[in-house]
Amino acid sequence: MKLIIGFLGLCLTSLVSNAQLKLPAGFKAVTVLSDFGSVRHIAVAPNGVVFIHLGRLKDGKGIYRLQDTNGDGKPDKIFAFGDFPGTGMAIRDGYLYASSDEEVFRYKLDADANVVNPGHPERIVTGLLARGEHQPKAITLDYSGNLYVNIGAYSNACQIDDRQKGSPGRMPCPILDSAGGIWQFRADVPNQTYGNDHDHRYATGLRNVVGLDWNRQTNSLFVMQHGRDQLSYLYPQYWNDKQSAELPAECMYELHKGSDCGYPYIFYDQFQHKQVLGPEYGGDGKKEPSEHYQDPILAFPGHLAPDGLLFYTGDQFPAKYKNGAFIAFHGSWNRAPEPQEGFYVVFAPFENGKPTGKWEIFADNFAGGPDKMSPSKAEHRPCGLAQGPDGSIYVTDDNRNGGVWKISYHK
């Protein structure tokens, strides 16, 4: 009996502390930054210095370097630079990479992760399309000198008239020429852009990707796609609001050069376990496409908006987390009038480079309660993920007054 009471006590403690987050037993969250700004993606240097990119400038700057010199978990040395807001933030081989909505820059870091020349970054990629819809350019790098950039489709489903009832899909979809996929650039060559003959296009048929990460175990790129919106609004004859809240799946893909995941012609129905033809291209929710595209390796419920992906390579967390994927789900808006969902970080275990399929919610309650599960009411919306040198992970919040948490495991 005592044991049960003790266990309940432990559970309660983990519910009320942790800076409002609900975490599995043994995990603890501390607030690194709060009420700071719209923190999009995050990168941590080998010495533990944290870099964050803001979706809107704060005091005229878009990138903040955070250093905790006295070990209390809070940054006491903060340095702001970069006059562009944006999403992408990554560190590789002594450089910090940062993206605006049209370009990718890099800053040389010294051995202490100081920014060598904060006023003069090297421009690595330029001239990328940003047409309002899905314009953030999320980035990651491999370990062979390549940079991967998401260029989101500036459309919901490539209709002639975007999001308009009855407007058919364009065939072939011209957006795919310069968006709706992942582009690959050299990490150290200045001023690259689209080029000819899709020579930089790595993968296509992806509507929009914000969470992406290089998996060191499989040595391949993994991405989380934001699936299409508004099935029941545009096609009430095929889907009701309840179905439309869950469909299509938010998909994880393992990409290789030349991957085609089928957007906008198909979407993945996680209940029928198959690709179905998009309604703008003659689909009715059951018809399959004549051409088969790459299948996802994991399918999550619809509209949760995966904005961060991180493969865990640390040793701090229990063994089951090693090489598994953390996914930050920003939270849905396109489930209305059904209740919204998301606003949590999920863990998807992997074995031998493949997901087991048994994903679970890892960090919950970013919204701050069931009555706040909506994009405008949520207190926090998880966005970026990164791993620190000690094996802790960081989660960002891109609400206007967002911040950063650090989640650690203590036996």
Binding site: G132, Q135, D162, Q164, N334, A336, P337, S374, P375, S376
Partner: protein, 138 residues
């Protein structure tokens, strides 16, 4: 000549509509709000949300904004022509709103009257006649 007569007749029709006494117009607003709610549920809610609070960075809120409470002509045009990219109180919204020319004058008047008198908003009604004029000049 026929058209001239017709436009006179139409103009007269408008005048007689707008010069009706206030009391029936009041009950007219109530009926308009009731009908407008149904239009909102079908056409607007998916993006602007159940409580009209919108989606940060994407779909604008419809609560006490100058677009909702202000110039009716501009507001009617948003429904007729759609909208992409708008700044409200320093926040930018990038969501794409499709045009809704398929809605009738009555439906547009009703839904705008509903929105202007719900979610904490309080503003005068939009009439079908006003929508008709804006649509004709659009």
């Amino acid at each position: 000549m026929k058209y001239l007569l017709l436009s006179f007749a139409l103009a007269f029709g408008f005048m007689s509509l707008t010069s009706k006494p206030a009391a029936p117009a009041q009950s007219g607003i109530k009926a308009s709000i009731t009908r407008g709610k149904q239009v909102y549920l079908q056409q607007c809610l998916a993006c602007h949300q159940v409580d009209a609070s919108g989606v940060p960075n994407m779909n604008p809120p419809l609560i006490k904004t100058k677009q909702v409470l202000g110039d009716k002509t501009a507001l009617i045009k948003i429904v007729l022509n759609g909208l992409k990219g708008v700044d409200i109180d320093g926040d930018s919204y990038n969501g794409v709103m499709a045009p809704h020319p398929d809605l009738t004058d009555r439906e547009i008047a009703d839904v705008l009257t509903y929105v202007r008198n719900s979610f904490g908003n309080k503003a005068s009604a939009v009439t079908a006649a006003q929508v008709k004029v804006v649509r004709a000049a659009n």
